[in-house]
Amino acid sequence: MMQNMEKTADKTIITVVGKDTVGIIAKVCTYLAQNEINVLDISQTIVQGYFNMMMIADMSGSKKPFGECLKDLECLGEEIGVSIKCQREEIFQKMHRI
């Protein structure tokens, strides 16, 4: 049963929110590249002075399981001083698409 949880990752949404600084995207992308996670789409915007970025990533080829990437990215976020979240895409699909 537990193996099921680590099934092919499909699409994952990575969001970065925080104060804008140099190299946020670079650092996140470097981590993803090192772990063979393919970025499918990136969009970003500034809302009320805060940097908001969303990446759609394909984790099916990832070297590490989902849970581990999630923790790594959280730590990376702390280093840069932003909040990084990693969520399966289905929660957004379900909520915003019929």
């Binding site: 537990m2 949880m5 970003q44 969303m54 999630l70 399966r88 895409e89 929660i91 379900k94």
Partner: protein, 454 residues
């Protein structure tokens, strides 16, 4: 493809507006555990629960992590114990042993509450039903996580007034036994009219006899999300108001549907229903009363409250129904007093009375919920309040319930603290005129004329 604004909206709901899945409740049938030897029966029950639910907590946490959606409670409901224990239990104490087994099983699998210490007596009580009801004070006061419910009435059968009378006495005894803790054990006891078989919410959850061997039921929540959405349409027409509630309820319920499907897949247990309820917590911004205020009331309880709640309840259902493949349970808006900061504020401002709450229960999904009343209230008066609530459910063909907390040693003006998600409550005044002679009558109230639909 999903865009950044949609992602932002969802995450704001979770992070700022308290969107969560209130409970994953695993319903487990204990009918195959029945044995006339009490020890064997307890062993069977313990084994069945701990085997079926062994991965429940872990799966809940896994889903939380993957979608970053909080799942507040993982719970278990079982077949009404009066049915399971009938052959083996000959005294109330025998039944209480089963409650202790349930408690131990719940602790072992890491769920915070287990429901189903229940009897279904809407028309009559068997010997076992009566023993179980009489054992409730011992059971609730000797366990931590066991919840008890009794179905006293239904639209098809009428109201079992003998059981209503008995429950008034039982509730007071529960209060008395836990009086050193503000009668807090009463919180784990609820009585119903038309109790649903698939309710995921405590204290009323039990696994109905019409259900499969095991089933996953989900309760979603999100009063804060509805409130925030309504802030953006202040002063608009009822059409805009209703559309906004519907759309928001749809989004909230979709999250529940996703969690239900995932939990069902991971546990290998079929998905039962989603309960479309707005369940408040004492956290600021997680209140149903605040939604009523946002609709345009100074306080919940002001004139117009019943209409506003009727509107809210109906739109939540209309929005949620399309979002889920199976809807069930109680579905609607909960109006507990102690678990809702806005409701507590209303009581303290004297904007709401017990009688107004009773009127509100005609149009919402549950009933008189988490209401602290003076400890010197008589058993007959409590039974009278229960009978009123049962009558509302019976005639309106809906579920109603009563979860009253007579706080021994406290009176109007005092406050009781229940802790955590259960919040705190000011003691509400109860009408002190007597209904003694009414409650003393034996037998049952017949089913209403419009129940004859065959």
């Amino acid at each position: 493809m999903i865009n950044i604004w949609e992602v932002k909206e969802t995450n704001e709901m979770i992070e700022q507006e308290n969107l969560d899945v209130r409970t994953i409740t695993l319903g487990i049938s204990l009918l195959d555990c029945i044995d006339d030897n009490l020890e064997k029966l307890n062993q069977n029950i313990y084994n069945k629960i701990t085997t079926t639910a062994k991965d429940l907590a872990a799966v809940g946490e896994e889903i939380e992590r993957e979608y970053a959606i909080p799942i507040v409670n993982k719970r278990i409901s079982v077949t009404p114990i009066a049915l399971v224990g009938g052959a083996a239990c000959h005294t109330p104490e025998d039944f209480a042993v089963i409650a202790q087994t349930m408690d131990a099983a719940a602790k072992s699998v890491g769920v915070n509450l287990i429901g189903g210490y229940s009897a279904l007596v809407s028309k009559g009580m068997t010997k076992a039903d009566e023993l179980l009801i009489r054992s409730i004070p011992i059971a609730l006061c000797s366990t931590e996580r066991v919840c008890s419910s009794v179905n006293l009435a239904s639209s098809k059968t009428g109201i079992n007034m003998d059981a209503v009378r008995l429950m008034g006495e039982v509730l007071l005894e529960v209060a008395e036994r836990s009086k050193d803790r503000d009668s807090v054990d009463c919180m784990k006891l609820v009585v119903f009219c038309n109790a649903p078989d698939d309710n995921p919410f405590m204290a009323g959850a039990f696994h109905g006899v019409t259900e499969a061997d095991a089933v996953i039921n989900i309760g979603v929540s999100g009063p804060g999300v509805v409130k925030t959405a309504l802030e953006k349409v202040r002063g608009e027409s009822f059409e805009v108001l209703c559309e906004t509630i519907k759309k928001t309820a749809f989004k909230v319920t979709r999250v529940g549907q996703l969690v239900a499907q995932e939990a069902s897949r991971m546990l290998g247990i079929p998905f039962g229903i989603i309960d479309l309820s707005l369940a408040p917590t004492p956290a600021v911004g997680d209140s149903v009363a605040d939604i009523l205020c946002e609709i345009g009331l100074e306080y919940a309880g002001a004139p117009g409250t019943t209409a506003a709640l009727a509107l809210l309840n109906d739109q939540v259902k209309k929005g949620g129904v399309m979002a889920s493949s199976y809807v069930g349970g109680l579905s609607g808006a909960f109006i507990p007093v102690s678990e809702d900061q806005g409701m507590i504020d209303s009581v303290q401002a004297k904007a709401i009375t017990l009688e107004k709450l009773e009127a509100m229960t005609c149009v919402c999904s549950v009933g008189l919920d988490m209401i602290a009343i003076p400890g010197n209230t008589s058993a007959a008066t409590i039974s009278g309040m229960i009978a009123d609530e049962m009558a509302l459910g019976m005639v309106n063909q809906k579920t109603t319930a009563a979860r009253l907390i007579p706080v021994i040693g406290k009176d109007v003006g005092d406050t009781v603290e229940f802790g955590g998600l259960f919040g705190y409550a000011p003691i509400m005044p109860v009408n002190t005129f007597s209904c003694e002679d009414f409650i003393r009558r034996k037998g049952r109230i017949p089913a209403p004329i419009h129940s004859f639909k065959n």
